[in-house]
Amino acid sequence: MDIDHTLFEGVRILYAEDDPVTRENITKTLRLFCSHVFSVEDGQAAVEVFEKEEPHIVILDYVMPRMNGLNAAKAMRALAPEIPIFMTSSYTDKEKLIGVMHLGLVDYLEKPLELFSLVKTLAKCLERLHEGLRLRVIFPSGVVYDGLRKEIGIKGVYATLTKKETQLLDFLLANHQRVVTQGEIEQKLYEGNVEANTVRNLVYRLRQKCGQEAIETAKGRGYSICAMPC
């Protein structure tokens, strides 16, 4: 199997499975090509880690104690509507999963798991991340941003982003389909404790690095990002 190791570089995967042997083996397998794998033993732990680590991809087993995969997926969807989630389950639980189509799961994998389909499904998740502007994007100015490495540059010349700038850019990209209000940004980046011009200054600095057209101002409402996956 040919797999580009760099493909999953920087990708964080959250894996929840209650059976210790399966959990250990699959985690080890994931670590063969992805360095950031968080594994947990039930749905509740999965939601806690999800909030803390903000993973890119989530794999949930359907049958788990404390909170099952379905409820965990619902909780995560509430926090991050576009996060790629897929479930693993037995054939006998297949019917129950038909009812959760609305959760927009990437796929569901039948247990026992198989390497090829596991990798294929992960690749599908990457594709969805890519389309959702969470991996490499290009701004109208030609500047490219790598969401995994947090690097910005043009034609191999890299610029550096401050922590707040990265946070703002990621936040705008995560919500690229809508206008993000100034209030939301203040809340997300500074937890509301901020002086009047801080956000405007931050946007100004970011525009210097990404290009003017990258961030559009919706008058009186807020900002929206303009980028394409590349």
Binding site: M1, D18, D19, T29, S90, D93, P112
Partner: protein
């Protein structure tokens, strides 16, 4: 025989060889519409008859007859004179010898039968003639219905034989009807189906009608003669009323055939109406002169019902043929009788048995229809039971298989995860780590494989039928049952609390306990699934060993049993689940009582249900 008669000078010559015979051709019959004649005038009458037939249809007129006998034998001749029809109102007889009245008889149904010289179902009197002696018999007949105006003359021996045979016939008829009534009464008690009730009522009416018409009721003296006479007017309508209800109920016309239902409703209402109107005859004589008009109406009703039955035959209702034959025979018999009574053909003794026989055929046919229906129901019931049994067997097999699947899900997936990891090492070129991976994984893989094998053995033991008693650890069986249902319990977020000593061993039927536990768990899980919003789901299993019994209390908080008393949950076919077949808990009860010699009880409150199991150790 006619050659032996001599009607010279109007005197009928009689000897031992001439009986039996009818007085009809030899008597003088006078119609007395104005009621002006008296017995002396009739005795002295020398003209010819004003009415020539032997029978007269419905009339209110008085009829007189005169017939003269002479004994041509050399020995005394004892004779019995009998009127063919029992339901004739009043027959007055005067016997004259040498112009002197030697005897008179007050006969007819309106008269008390117990005061007569010869007590019989019909109007009968005794006449004795010495050798060469002559006698004149003058008769006055008056009734509210049809009449026979002649005397059937028999020797005493002939009369006794004929009367006895008739009695035997009525006895057989009455016995047959009574047997059918009793049979259907027992059916009514057993099956509690209204069809049998209507049948019994119909047959009772038929019996009454025949016994009234034949004079049996009058003979037995159960009621005043005039009441019995009147009952022959309204009982047939009551009979038709029950027959209509019987037909409706038998074919379940209300749900099956609305047109037929309407037809039989009409006949039911019409016959009930006529019954009510005609029963006023018990209280007033004013109605009776018009009563015979309703015969035509009753006849039309039966015809109407017959047509409706033909329709049911064409629609291929089961049992409709029996109805058609029964009603057809009855209608035919009735037609014959009406024709005879209305004096269109001459009445003979055998004609009198046509109607009872027709009626007997009718009620036999209806009874056959009923028993064939019961037979079909039995077959259907057996078929249904078999089907249910097959379904439950199939469900049980399916359940066992799904339990094996549940049991094996986790070990197989963990075994597969080893394969995934080892394949990953190989594919991603981590040959160096391969050795370490195998070293770490193999013991676990082996362990899992043996676990699969062991669990298979255990499952075999769990579901294998072991009718014999053997020592075992109930705690192990509880753990195994919970393990099998583990994923369902997890999915439904059910907390399970078990308080059971692992050291306790009991000697009983191990597989029966396993099955009972599975049924109880399955029952709780289905109830929980039915109520998705319930929080704090819990199953508590507590066991204790007291003297020679082992007790288990199984409690869930999946809502109580909505049955009063809750013990009804153990009845076969009783289920509070929409999809339930009501087999599980009844099977559990059976297993506990029959295989484990124990007891299973249930208590239920608004939220919780407790099952108490107690078995000998």
């Amino acid at each position: 025989m006619l050659a032996l008669y001599c009607q010279l000078f109007g005197v009928l010559h009689v000897s031992r060889d001439t009986t039996p015979f009818s007085t009809h051709p030899h008597q003088i019959t006078l119609e007395d519409a104005a009621r002006i004649f008296n017995v002396e005038e009739v005795l002295a009458f020398e003209g010819s008859s004003t009415y020539l037939k032997a029978d007269v249809s419905y009339t209110q007129n008085v009829f007189w007859t005169k017939v003269e006998f002479k004994n041509t034998d050399t020995t005394p001749l004892p004779l019995m004179l009998q009127n063919l029809r029992a339901p004739v109102g009043m027959i007055d007889v005067w016997v004259f010898k040498d112009g002197n009245e030697v005897a008179s008889h007050k006969l007819g149904m309106f008269r008390d039968s117990s005061a007569r010289a010869v007590r019989s179902t019909k109007s009968v009197f005794y006449l004795s003639l010495q050798p060469g002696e002559e006698a004149t018999v003058v008769t006055r007949l008056e009734s509210l219905g049809a009449m026979n105006l002649t005397w059937e003359v028999l020797s005493t021996g002939q009369y006794t034989l004929k009367n006895s045979l008739e009695m035997v016939f009525w006895g057989l008829f009455g016995g047959a009807v009574l047997a059918l009534i009793i049979y259907n009464l027992t059916m009514l008690i057993n099956l509690k189906e209204r069809t049998h009730l209507f049948y019994v009522l119909h047959a009772s009416c038929a019996w009454w009608f025949v016994y009234a018409m034949s004079g049996m009721l009058h003979f037995l003296g159960v009621l005043d003669g005039d009441k019995i006479f009147v009952s022959t007017w309204f009982v047939p309508f009551l009979m038709l009323f029950w027959l209509s209800l019987f037909s409706m109920e038998f074919f379940d016309l209300k749900t099956n055939d609305s047109l037929s239902y309407r037809i039989f409703s009409i006949t039911a209402w019409a016959s009930f109406g006529m019954f009510v109107v005609m029963s006023f005859g018990l209280f007033t004589q004013a109605l009776l002169p018009y009563a015979h008009h309703v015969v035509a109406f009753g006849y039309m009703l039966i015809l109407f019902m017959l047509v409706a039955t033909v329709r049911l035959v064409f629609k291929q209702y089961e049992g409709a043929w029996y109805f058609l034959i029964g009603e057809g025979t009855y209608l035919l018999a009735l037609t014959f009788t009406i024709v005879a009574i209305s004096a269109r053909i001459e009445l003979t003794t055998s004609l009198l048995f046509v109607l009872p026989l027709g009626m007997l055929v009718e009620i036999v046919m209806f009874s056959m229809a009923l028993s064939s229906k019961i037979g079909r129901m039995k077959v259907k019931h057996r078929h249904d039971t078999l089907l249910l049994l097959e379904e439950s067997k199939f469900a049980a097999v399916g359940k066992n298989i799904s339990e094996v699947v549940h049991q094996w899900k986790e070990p197989i997936s963990s075994l597969a995860s080893h394969v995934v990891y080892l394949e990953g090492l190989l594919r991603f070129g981590k040959e160096k780590e391969m050795h370490k991976g195998l070293e770490e994984g193999l013991p676990n893989m082996k362990k899992t494989l043996f676990y699969l094998k062991d669990s298979l053995d255990e499952l075999y033991g769990f579901f294998a039928k072991t009718p014999h008693l053997e020592p075992f650890f109930p705690a192990k069986q509880i753990a195994l049952a919970l393990q099998i249902q583990r994923s369902r319990l997890l999915l439904q977020d059910v907390e399970v609390v078990v308080a059971c000593s692992e050291k306790v061993s009991i000697t009983n039927n191990q597989s029966a306990l396993a099955n009972v536990l599975m049924i109880l768990l399955d029952n709780s899980l289905e109830a929980f699934a039915h109520d998705p919003n319930r929080k704090g789901r819990k199953i508590t299993i507590t066991t204790s060993l007291k003297s020679d019994h082992w007790h288990l209390c199984y409690e869930d908080n999946a809502g109580g049993i909505a049955l009063v008393p809750p013990e009804r949950i153990f009845d076969t076919g009783v289920s509070t689940k929409e999809s339930g077949m009501g087999l599980g808990l009844s099977l559990a009860k059976k297993l506990v009582t029959e295989r484990m010699n124990g007891a299973l009880h249930v208590k239920s409150s608004r939220d919780t249900t407790q099952f108490y199991l107690s078995v000998p150790v």
